[in-house]
């Protein structure tokens, strides 16, 4: 019985480490270096769900998305927005077909998001933390 138990413990530890290797990379939410709005978790969620089109300092926000199916997107949606990809799509289908919103523009890579955010004071995006450069400002990590 003890052997069974210890095998289980070892097995689940191995599983756990596999999972952590596979999925845990840090995500950074980034804005233009000139953006002085104090952005909270709740603001990020509201902006990405289309419930708000502004930063807390009333400046217009242009959220940027990443490619559907990408690890960085799945992880960001789960951690910051609290939705899976299909849930996010279903949420936006409600807004699109009522003329209440336009989903965030989708870009192909971390580098493309960083370039776009560095060039636009209204932009907000998310990237793998390892890709962050001095051209952008990190306001939140997940």
């Amino acid at each position: 019985m003890n052997i069974v138990k210890s095998v289980r413990v070892v097995f689940s530890t191995v599983l756990l480490s596999l999972f952590s290797v596979a999925s845990i990379a840090e995500i950074s939410v980034i804005v233009h270096p000139s953006n002085e709005a104090g952005i909270s978790d709740a603001d990020i969620k509201k902006i990405y769900l289309g419930k708000s089109s502004k930063f807390p300092n009333d400046m217009q926000a242009e959220p940027l998305d990443q490619k559907e199916g990408s690890d960085v997107r799945q992880q960001f949606l789960g951690a910051a927005v609290g939705k899976s990809e299909p849930q996010m799509k279903s949420h936006w289908s409600r807004l699109i077909f009522t003329g209440k919103g336009v989903p965030p523009k989708s870009l192909d890579s971390d580098a493309a998001v960083i370039d776009a955010v560095a060039a636009d004071p209204k932009a907000i995006g998310f990237v793998d933390s390892s890709a962050v450069t001095d051209a952008v400002k990190v306001v939140m990590t997940y």
Partner: protein, 420 residues
Amino acid sequence: MKLHILSKSGLTVLAAAVASTASASDLRINGFASFYYGNVLDNKEIPGELYRGYGETGNFQYDTQFGLQFASDLGDGLTATAQLTAEGRSGYDAELSWAFLKYQISDEWSVKMGRQRVPFFLYSDFQKVGYAYSWVTPPPEVYNLGGLENTDGVMFEHLTDLGDFTSRLNFLFGTTSQTTNFGETDLDIDNENQVGLFWDLAYDALTFHLTYTVSELTISAYNDVGNGIGQTLAAINPALALTDDELDLLTVDEDEVTYLGAGLSGDWGTWVAAAEYASIMIDDSPTSSDRQAWYVFTGYRWDAYTLGLTYANYSSLNNDDTIDVLTDKNIEATMNAAAAGATNDVSAAGIEQLVGAIPDIYRAGEESSAVTVSLRYDYHPAAALKFEYTQDDVTQKPEDGTGEREFSPALVRVGVDLMF
């Protein structure tokens, strides 16, 4: 036909929208589609009749539909939106369901003018977009409004944050006339001077919805029957002539309609839930003078699956005052006797037709309660596979003693919803 006129005008609007994009702004095209097969199981009680569009022979058409939405940002807060839909239940005739211009007046105020959806209930705005929810269709007990889902008019919207709450108020003024397909008949319906107030309050995972509208409803087919009965009675014997009040109870002629609705929904990620109540009262109307419906829904999500359970209840009773007119004046027996004694074949046939319409129009009360189990599987980023089983218990004409019928159809629907 009306639909063809609509689709022609739809093309004109689209052409205009496309032309304007060619010059400057960006045109967004989004689409949705549903492909469903359905089949009624064990419906021995009503052989040959359809339940929610389905019979015992499978059907691929009824809930199959295709929609395209064109939205063009014209700049300075002005957007033009057109939505074309083609539904299997209407023989795939293209219809311009929406065509409106939206203007953002200020941060909080906007206005929409044109043909648009009336936000009666929680899911009304995206009622046709199956991808947006876990049912095949939202509970028809509440959502089936017989063609009055859309209106032509102007709607002001006020959107604001109140602390952690988001409040959206809509004020509508509209007037619409539409042709609706009821079973095998097309009915012309006019819903005029519709004034509506709609309020959504969202807090975190919860959304609360409230609806109040009044309008004036005219259904010409009902009036043909009601007026026909009145004229026939007066011709048989002037003493039988109907008073204005009695005639009012047999017709739907600018009758005041009041819609009330309240709903609450929540989405906590793993669990989703919704409950809604709707009441439609039509003053001095022969039918559905007091229609009430409600449902409760709960769903559980895991991986790419959502399993849902819905209980829905519906009650639309006869108008007692109408039944009193029919019985006090002995209308059916008097008219039957007149038809039997008529020397003229044409008038006998006409009278029989009028009497034959009475059970369908004036004694058409119905009660039902249905349980639905639904399973949604998001097997693709843009497509959801759905399976749904509905077990309904229907009692027709529950108050009429004779002629009461009960049946318990079970409906299975399976299909796919897409958005692109």
